[in-house]
Point group: D2
Chain length 347, copies 4
């Protein structure tokens, strides 16, 4: 079985693993107060061209999401998200478990929301005669890239950021696959931009070369305050924090993070091209490592014998939407085989 179903089917990028091996028996202090975490913070600040940020290392995406959101909101405040946003759709109510409502906005197949939608939510709230009976919108959550692989342009992000600032809303970007987004063709967003446009975002490691780990970057001083307490409370402060420092040092030394993301994106484009060549339609236009394909149900069983894929949703009676992912770990050999098999499909 060849796995294209997700971007977390292998362990760590060899360079990351090497660093873990090399440092394994070193003794360090715990809880991310070691030299490797310091170094990783410093490398990330450099990559962000920003010294006025706090960088924290957490273990996973759901954890990063609810820890940041819980650190940011008062009890009556909620977070705006696309209805397909990971916090709304795939985290078993983790945000609600910290007491906060998610204000879900409709979105297209690309999973993006717009500055205008955010502005409308805010205006509707403040103009409601019973506004105190409603959850107060206080934060906007977006994923970059989105759940369906789309990216925001710099102009779109800037517009959302402006609405947020004008309305006293916080902007938080889920970057579980950030590398694949920043390295995508047509992307004009940088880490530096994210520091300036958002109050907090994170640099996903788990899906982009790390064994595990997410680097949360905070620009907003209110969220910065006491963030480590809240990490500890949420089970998000790893005892051997240096494991995260070591991994992010490896990823941000020599721009490894971007290099491997770019390669995976390009591999994904080849899958998309092959699909189109074979006569398959794409469900959404993704420029990142996830590709969403409208696949005839009659062919899926055979395809699934050789390739692990993700079932995304029903398209119509004859077709399913499936997801195929590349990652830092995708081998050209497996890719070539997949492409060849796609091209040979009898559509």
């Amino acid at each position: 079985m060849i796995y294209f179903n997700s971007d977390y089917t292998e362990g760590a990028h060899p360079k990351v693993l090497d660093m873990l091996i090399k440092t394994n028996m070193e003794q360090t202090t715990g809880y991310s107060e070691d030299e490797y975490c310091k170094k990783a913070r410093s490398l990330i600040k450099k990559a962000c061209k920003n010294d006025d940020i706090d960088v924290h290392f957490l273990v996973g995406g759901t954890q990063a999401n609810f820890t940041v959101i819980s650190a940011s909101l008062r009890p009556h405040q909620g977070v705006i998200s696309a209805v397909t946003g990971h916090i709304h759709a795939h985290e078993t109510g983790a945000v609600e478990a910290t007491g906060h409502k998610i204000i879900a906005l409709p979105c297209g197949a690309d999973g993006k929301i717009t500055a205008e939608q955010v502005a409308d939510v805010y205006t509707a709230h403040v103009e409601d005669t019973n506004f105190e009976h409603l959850v107060q919108p206080k934060m906007v959550y977006i994923s970059h890239p989105t759940e369906s692989g789309a990216i925001y342009s710099n102009a779109e992000l800037t517009a959302i950021s402006k609405v947020c600032k004008d309305s006293g809303l916080l902007l938080f970007v889920d970057g579980a696959r950030l590398g694949y987004g920043l390295s995508a063709k047509g992307s004009d967003v940088t880490l530096k931009d994210l520091c300036e446009l958002t109050d907090a975002f994170y640099i996903g490691g788990t899906k982009v070369g790390a064994m595990f780990g997410e680097a949360v970057v905070i620009s907003n001083s209110a969220i910065k305050q006491d963030f480590r307490y809240i990490m500890k409370q949420k089970g998000a402060m790893l005892a051997k924090g240096r494991l995260l420092g070591v991994q992010f040092s490896a990823l941000f030394e020599d721009e490894l993070y971007f290099e491997i993301a770019k390669k995976a994106d390009e591999q994904a484009y080849k899958i998309a091209d092959a699909c189109k060549e074979a006569g398959l339609k794409m469900f959404s236009e993704s420029v990142t490592n996830q590709q969403f394909i409208i696949f005839p149900k009659s062919l899926l069983e055979d395809f699934g014998k050789k390739y692990a894929y993700s079932f995304w949703e029903k398209f119509d009676d004859n077709n399913s939407v499936i997801r195929l992912c590349t990652s830092w770990a995708t081998t050209d050999e497996n890719l070539d085989q997949l492409i060849s098999d796609i091209k040979n499909l009898k559509i």
Copy 2:
């Protein structure tokens, strides 16, 4: 100013007030363990024709909602509600503040959801390959009458109840205006039915003759267990609980509760008739004490000088939806004046 904006603009029905006055200086034990609460429980059981229920007295509707829901669910479980349901739309995230997600379903202007919708949510959940990443639907919340004054038929409630039982879901009915629903023309639902079809529901007092108070009726033994602990934790156990016992005794002695509800419903029908006669269109078909009218914006300012109404929502550029309510306290004098003024509107 004459108030038709809501059904909580006055104090208590005179008979309820009389009982409060008469018992004012009596000494009783606290926390609803007094003789008046016992009597009220007994009267409600009789009205329900059911001895196998627990009856608890709480202060308000939001409190009743989150106390019952919190008592019923484990952390990963959520509650299904119409998108217009009070818990989703007008309680400042009170349910989420207890840790639970609301799974919102679309609904028409009547605010009702269907057995089929519930079954679909359940099926979609159990068939999802990643079901453990989703909030588990465990309870269905409906209002009877709904936020927009509609009522469920016995057949509809029975169908929802059956889906719930078949799927291991709990059914909870918000009865903040229950009297107006049970007394509505065409209603074929009784308190006895509610005991049998639901796991918990409440008999709203605040809007139906009481000064304040809601009587929660529980059929399900798992929700019954330790319910008073959870009331206390949620601030829902009144020290002078006898105030609630006294009031519900007054309301369920001689069927006062239903008598006053019926009268208010009939007053509301007269408003609806007058509106139609005047050429106004109703936003939804309500058979209860709330009427929702599509009202020309050009006439609203003048109308609002004399009558307090509730703005419900924008209808189009020229019209608003407004709500007019009757209640146990609506005088025929005020009603006649309103009807006459509506009929004289220059539509």
Copy 3:
């Protein structure tokens, strides 16, 4: 049976009840935005000699406690309380249910904590090498009078307040029986002082003449912000808010609140005197309406046939601590009978 077991065995003070009767059929807007609430706020501000406070009306004490605390703290912050404090001992974990730990301090039979204890907690926290692994102390909760009827002197409160200000802690005073405390012999604390020394406190109505209700007074601007949202979320915003406005107007017109508290305190002193005369020992020195008496178990059964009392705790094998309360409702007739019976006890 004559009830001296608590101070919530009757309904409302006649003057309060009269105002409720008189205003019963008036129509007002809801949610405490009516004229009676305005008036009550204005009277309380006058009594506090302070215009820079926010006044909100809630239904009960547990509710007031967790609403204020939840409005004040971030997730990792906790509240310091005497181990006998109501929030720690008798609210079924209501504060924890909003996510916050109570940091419990030992205290004597008087239920008081000291500025020094608070300073020690703060210092221990900031000096702990693992402070981020500990709940951050952020608020001090005291009751005035305490659970066992003792009062703080102005000097003691000022000292606690100073430690709080110096350490960035908030000070919150539970005033469920505040009237009895401010009117006690030897008290040198005023409402004005409380506004200046605390960040929030409340004026208990339920136990001091109201049918129900607590007036929360907030000096701190961060707690003021959006407080009504949080009230709504916690079920603490009464639909017919005017009921609370009416009651607190009655209580603060002509200083009724203090007059009835003073009388109850004096009645309580007579009970204490009678006990001492009879040879009974007091468990604690209370100058308020609750008296705690070390009572021989052999005499309790007979005593309990005529008088309802509260069992407080075991004292030793032969004696129990019991509580006897007066209130605004205690009649001189019942009091005289009790005193006479106490004096006749065969100790």
Copy 4:
């Protein structure tokens, strides 16, 4: 600097690391549904001599604690713990953040609580006339070994378990250092016993050879139900779950887990012996890998230049309690140097 301050100063045991390296590029399904997790579950069941348990792999101890507790309790229920218990003292209110109070019991320097204490809490609760105003004790949390390195005997555990069963309480054992406890001299407790005596416990990996990870073992069917949903909600379901399966497979193949724990325990005994020989007093009698020593403050500065230690608490004006830990990673070379330096202390 040589680190004896904690048992998480290095990475993973070489055999664990080897398995991670060897499997790094294998493709597996996510979320602990892979073959390595299956194998690890099977090995643990074998080690437990019990097939009727569920085994789940989580990342860290705080996370394991609040996930199990949150999965087990209804909102009004609390968990009994020694006042020094990790959940009470060192997790930034993680359990309270899920809504539950910790009922803290006094304990000696050994950190243990007794069956009698638990029985007393239960009895006091059910006999309290206001029991519904108190948090209902529902679970007992103990650590084995305790925070201060002591172990429970089989008889002690059996007695606590019996009280729990008799009183309807759940028993949960924090086994962050379980290996060091089960392998300690004098221990008569086995994994099999823990399965039978507790409702849930966990086998700590982070401090006993794993890079990270805790294996939660559940015997109680109510806690088993839907546990994976709750893991996901709490951020405790690792995307690359196989990392945990691989590690626990390595640890439970050939009893590596016990072998390395036993060696560390024996190294710790040598430290204790050296201390006693040098004239130092032990703060508590620990038979596991942590040793607590009353250390003259005058000597600490010099000692701290060479060795990292944990400051535990102040003992008196002249002495501090410090903790020295061994672990699977402690080298004999470092140990010999420490022992020699301790013996040369000028007490």
